[in-house]
Each structure stands twice: as C-alpha cells, then as structure tokens.
Symmetry: none
Subunit: 224 residues, 4 copies
DNA sequence: GATGAATGAGTGTTCATTCAT
DNA sequence: TATGAATGAACACTCATTCAT
C-alpha cells in the first residue's frame, strides 16, 4: 500500500527489542505485514501465526490492538481504502480541458491498480466475503461518492463545452473505468493461462492503458 | 453374463438419496455441492464437512474420487470452464450482421455472468490463488482461444463490410467485454456499499447490459 | 521367506486377469507381498491398501481369504515359522562329531538369520505386540521344542564323548545361539549409527559368524 | 516493578495436575508418558490421543514443544539414550581386577536391560524403522563409542596381566554382551511361547544373568 | 505495554472394513 | 470367485484465541 520508502527499515535501532513504547509504529508494522498476508492469501487463507511471526511485535499484540483476526482485516481494508482516497483527492484534473481531464483520470486509475495489486486483491477478497466487512469502514462510503462526483463534474464540463455526450450516465462511465482498470489486475492469472497473454507484463499494460483511455473517450465523446 | 439392460439409468430417481453404486451420479452430486461451496467461501474458506452435504458418507467419497480438497477444487473449476465453453460454442452469431453479432455476443456473455455468479466467484478464487490450478485443466486453454477467435471473425467481417474499425485489436475488445461483464458480478458488494448502487439488481443489470453493448459498439464502430 | 526362484513371476499368462480360479496361488501371492509389508512396516505400520494394491488380486480378496488384517498377519507369521522349521528339520548334523555338529548348527542358524531379515523383523514385530498372536500359531510350539531337542542331543553326545561340559544347560546354549544370531540382524541399524559398524556388511558378517561359532564352542567345551 | 520472588518454583507441588507455565515440567510429563506409549505400541502404533494422557490440553502441547509425532518420538529416543549413557559413565569398574570388572560390567548391563524394557523396546522400534531417526540424535554416537572404549580398556588390562586373550576383538565381545543382554528382553514373548520358558521370570533372569557372565568370561579368558 | 505457555474446537485426511453386484 | 463403490470411526494436526505473569 505504501510506496517502498528508502528510509531504513525497522530494526535500525540497536536494541533488539526496539519499538518499545511506540504503539503507533507497532500497529503500523502489523498492518503492513497483514496487508500483504491478506492480499496474498485472503481472510481465511491467512494465518495469524504467520502474521505474528513476521512482525517484530509478537502475535499477542494483534489481539491487543485489533481484538481478533477480523478486526485486523477490517483495519487493513480501511487503511487500503484510505490510501486510495487520499490519492484521488490529490488528483488535480479540474483545471484540464474535459477530454484531457478524463484521459488523465483513467490513466492514473489504471496505473494505481497496476501498481497496487494488494488493493485489487483485497477488494476481491472482500467481495468473496460479500462485502460483509464494508459496513465497519468509517469513511469509505464518502470516498466512493467523492470519486463519482469528481467524474461527474468532468463529464458535465465536457457536455457543456460540446465535446461529451449529454446522454451518458456518470455511473456507467465510472463503472466502466473501474471495471477496465480492475480486471487487468484481478484476472491476470486466469487470462494468462487461457489466452497465453500476461496482462501484468509492462509492455502489455502500457498499450492496454491507452486502449482503455481510448475506449472511455469513445464512450463519452459526442463525435468521433 | 449380465444382460445389458436397456432400462434408463438410475438417474430416473432424481430426488432420492440413493447413490448406491452409481459413481457418475455420486461424483456429479459432490461436484454440484462443491461448486457452490467453493464459489461461496473459496478454497481455504470451504469446509470439507460442509461440502459433503448432510451425509457423512459422501464426504468420504471426495477422497475416493478426487483424492483431496484440492483435487475436488480442480474438478469443480474444470466443470465450470467446460460449461461456459459449451455455451459459447453453441452461440450462432456467425450468420448475423457484424454489429448485431457483436451486440448479441456481448449480451449473451453479460447475461451468462449475471446468471452464473458461482462461475465469476470461482474465477476470482482462482486468481486469488494466482492461477496455480489452471495448469491442471485439460481443455481450458483451447476454450479461451476459441472465444477470442470467434470474436476476431466478427470483427473481421465488420471491418470488411466497413462498419468496424480496422485498427482495433481483438484482444482489446475481448478483454473489455470480459472486464465489463465480469466486474458487474465480481465487485457487486463493494460497489454496492461505496456507491449505494446494487449492480445485482435486475433493473440496474438490464440497463447496464445495454450500456455495455453500446460501449463495445462505440469501441468498434468506424463512425458513430 | 522364499528363496528368489528363477521361475517366471506372475503375469506370465497372457490374459491380464490371470490366476482366475487358482485360489492357492492367489493366497500365496498375497502372503508373499504381505510378508514383506509386515516385515518392513510392522503390523500397525502396514496398510491393507498397499498390500492389496501390490497384489494382482484385489484388496477385497484379503478379507475373503484371511478375514481381516490380523488374520493375514497371523498367516504370514505362521508361514514364516513353518519355513524355518522345515529348514531346521532338514539339517543333518546328527552324524557329525559333536563339535563339528555344534559349529555347523550355529553357522546355519547365523546364515539363515542373515539371509532372512524378514523373519527376524517379523519376530521383532511380534515381540513388540507381546506375542499376542503366537497362540494362534498351530505348529510353532512343537517346532521350538524340536530345535531345542536337536541341540540337546548334540550337547549330550559331546558330554558323553568328553569334549563338552556336563554342567552347561541346553536352554542357555540355545538362548545364546539365538541371541547372537538374532542380534546381528535385529539391531543392525542402531548399532551402525552408534558404533559406525555395519553388521549387515558381508565381510563383517562372515567374521562375526566365526566369532559366534567360537564363542559357543568355548561355552560348551570342557577344556580350551 | 515486579519483586523477583524468592519463593520456590511450582515444582514443589509434585503430584498436582498444575502444569501452568512450567514448560520443563510440561515437557518432562509428556516425554514420560510418550516413552511408555512408544515403547508399548511403537511409533505408528501409538496414538497421540493416548500419549497426551488424560488431559486434552497436554496433547496440544506435543505440537507446541515437539512439532509433531515424529519429533516427540525422537525426543523420547534421545532421552532414553541419554539415560543409559549417564548410567554407563557412572560405572566405576576401572579399579576392579579385569575379570571382576568384566563380570560386573556384564551384570550391570544385563540388569539395566531387564529393568528397562521400555529402552529395549524403543531400540527395537527404531530398528524396525531402519534407524532413520538415529541421525537426529545429538550425543548418541559419542555415547556408543564410549561404552566400547570402556570395555576395550578392561580387555587390555586383562591381556596385559595375562588373564585375557590377546586375540579377542573388543567389538566382538561388546556385540556379544549387548546381544545376550538385549535378547532376554526383546524376544521374551516369542521364546515364552515357543519354548514354554519365560525369560522375564525373575528366577530365570537371575540364573541367565550368571550364565551370560560366565559365557563372556569364557570368551575372554586365556585359560579355563 | 508486552510475552511465552496453554487451550478447545475443528481441520483435512486415512484407516480397516463392508456393501451390492 | 471376484470387484468397484461405499462407509464410519478415528487419525495426526492446525486454528484463532486466552491465560498468567
């Protein structure tokens, strides 16, 4: 979830039992490990023992901070959604012309998915569990609507300036963008086997990204 | 020694619990229950005890016929892919005009995904496991390429008759169709919570299906 | 148990399902496989499935002929004791001078143990089970006493002719012979590791055999 | 913060079932029970459920401390060899005249085997498994060579003082002693049935012990 | 705040055995 | 006589979790 920082990793402090009395860092360490664990093996597939073993903090701390496995999973999910939300809010496409703004939005979203497979996989995991943990997420809902509103404004600006259709529904455009970005990561493995085509390959991904941008633009443009 | 009876097989007693010495029926029963179990809870989340259904006996037969949980999962995955393959091969869109053929293809694919969420979920599960069981599927690869070739022929016919672009790549169209059909089912639960929009709702699904058809046509058409 | 005959093994008959209607051969086949299985892995360690799988006759036949696993084990044990009994009865040492007769007896016994580790291992297995299956053996008891009587006669002849002590008890000599012959095979593996000395090595075995002969002679001789 | 209490450890409550937070005691308890279980029924024949004793909790601790059944078995085997090693090292026969030293050595070894049938049976079990767990024993090898060297010194002293032969090999004497002591316990049950002679009977054992001492002395003495 | 020891319910799997033909 | 299908009890082992310090 976090871009691999250059700052020295934990254990940089001399004493082996470092991080004593730094609960925030302990929590963050656990969350980082747990994110990869849940993204790799899912909720049922991950083992508390493994997560506890990989963390410098002991397994017991998981229960101390997150109550149980499900609590940890929810914290991981929340952290993931918070991360993508903060990214989307930072996107400054409002000043660009509508077509460029839309293209840029799609590019960023596509790239984010490609670079954060853990996010994609966690969303898959949550859907396998029929979204039963979503209700416990504090800010996720507002985040989703925010992204939709952001897109709606772009489409409106395009419609006003005559480059975009007036009859295309933002929810459809939004869903298509999400689907096309998500699928490239989510279904990488089955597609690779069925079509002998690795969507995770960087060359494939780059050309696919532009194809997706093109597809969304064709979907929204008034005239070709 | 044994008179090869002409009488219909034991399958004539549909609802009965009799599974005595009818191995095909026993296997099919297990596969049916296992398909729903794995689709609901994934490979690690499913419990062999639940898969066996109510009888403890059939649970044992899992090991008799499928060796272990993973073998059963593979058989389920294979059955699922075999089913969708046979459907796709039965599609007769070759006689329709290219635009209608493409539209019909998308509609059928969209509908199949909507009506077979267990297929979608099994594919998600397999991707969570990084496709490690795909290699054991016998005919899946040829199936995938078949669908792509089917689409390629339609696009070619459209390009020849001047209604479709010549510069659109079949793999991109194919991926987009799959993504748009898949996402509606796969991400139903998270989207429902984030956007307060249930893609599984029949009304929503119907309008979404036409939106997807439209999007794909706009992607392929030479002129709007 | 049986010296590896040169005669063609089973499956020499063309039809794959050969041995139909040859129950004695079927039983013998099962016993042969079972002997090696029980000798290798013990009673609890052997698997009926394996034994049934290695036999050309099906697993089900084991129950048909031997009732259950324990019945098969008893039959194996009995066959083993019958084999060694027939060998001992065939030994013609009564005509030799006492010292040579005793030496020859020890040599034969030592060699038999070395060449039939399955026998030694089965006896170990039976002792692990505290001899609870011995009672079901029909002729074993008479066999044991026969061997003791055979030795007793030799010792008596030696005592009469003045070469052997009169005060050595046959049971002690018999036990010593058995112990020294048995141990070389039974404890081969632990000794090999503890002393870095492989008693199963043919060179070691040959020199050990003569050492045992010498030891027994020194035990029985009146004068050195 | 915590006053380091001077009060004695929990081991002061010997018979109590309290095994709380006393890992050494817990391990020792498990090993004790497991020793008897493995000695009685072997590795495959023993049931983890039985080994755990009455409490289901201690059953779980097997995996906590010994990883699995095999790990527990190895620990048991190691403990057994460590016990006999410490006994042998404590033997002070170096000051006795050679003949008495040898006699005493044999007596002690014979008695140890008689009084520790579980040791004998564990060695049998390990040989049934072809000594595949011996390699994991830490100190066993040095132990075995120690006993051989102890015997070698006695034989050397005897040879130097003219009471023992110079041409008898220590490895042969050592093997004979082991064989004669081992067999009395290992083959008790089959011999009892075949010869109607219980080597475990105390009277029989006592006379047999002296017979073994005599046999070994006759083997080593220069003149009778 | 932090930890090693302990726990009970349940996991996938294997076993010897029997059924129906 | 012979066999593939079926079975229930038990098996070794793992899980998330809690206790005592």
């Amino acid at each position: 979830m976090k871009t691999p920082a250059v700052q020295p990793r934990k254990k940089s402090t001399p004493a082996s039992n470092a991080r004593i009395n730094d609960p925030e860092r302990t929590k963050e360490d656990i969350l980082e490990i747990a994110t990869h664990a849940f993204a790799r093996d899912g909720l049922t597939g991950s083992r508390i023992n493994d997560i506890g073993g990989l963390t410098a903090a002991s397994k017991r701390m998981i229960y101390y901070y997150f109550e149980n496995k499900e609590g940890l999973y929810r914290a991981v999910l929340e952290r993931c959604y918070a991360d993508i939300r903060s990214r989307e809010e930072a996107i400054g496409v409002e000043d660009l012309p509508p077509e460029e703004a839309l293209a840029q939005l799609v590019r960023l979203k596509f790239t984010y998915h490609m670079e954060h497979p853990e996010f994609v996989r966690l969303v898959m995991v949550e859907n396998i569990h029929q979204g039963e943990h979503m209700r416990y997420l504090k800010e996720a809902r507002t985040r989703g609507l925010f992204a939709l509103q952001q897109l709606t404004r772009i489409l409106q600006r395009g419609a006003d300036s005559g480059v975009f259709r007036k009859d295309v529904r933002p929810i459809d455009v939004h869903t298509s963008i999400s689907a096309l970005c998500f699928y490239n990561v989510s279904n990488r493995w089955t597609v690779a086997h069925l079509l002998e085509h690795d969507m995770g390959d960087v060359t494939h991904a780059a050309s696919r990204r532009e194809a997706v941008v093109d597809e969304i633009l064709r979907l929204c443009r008034l005239k070709v």
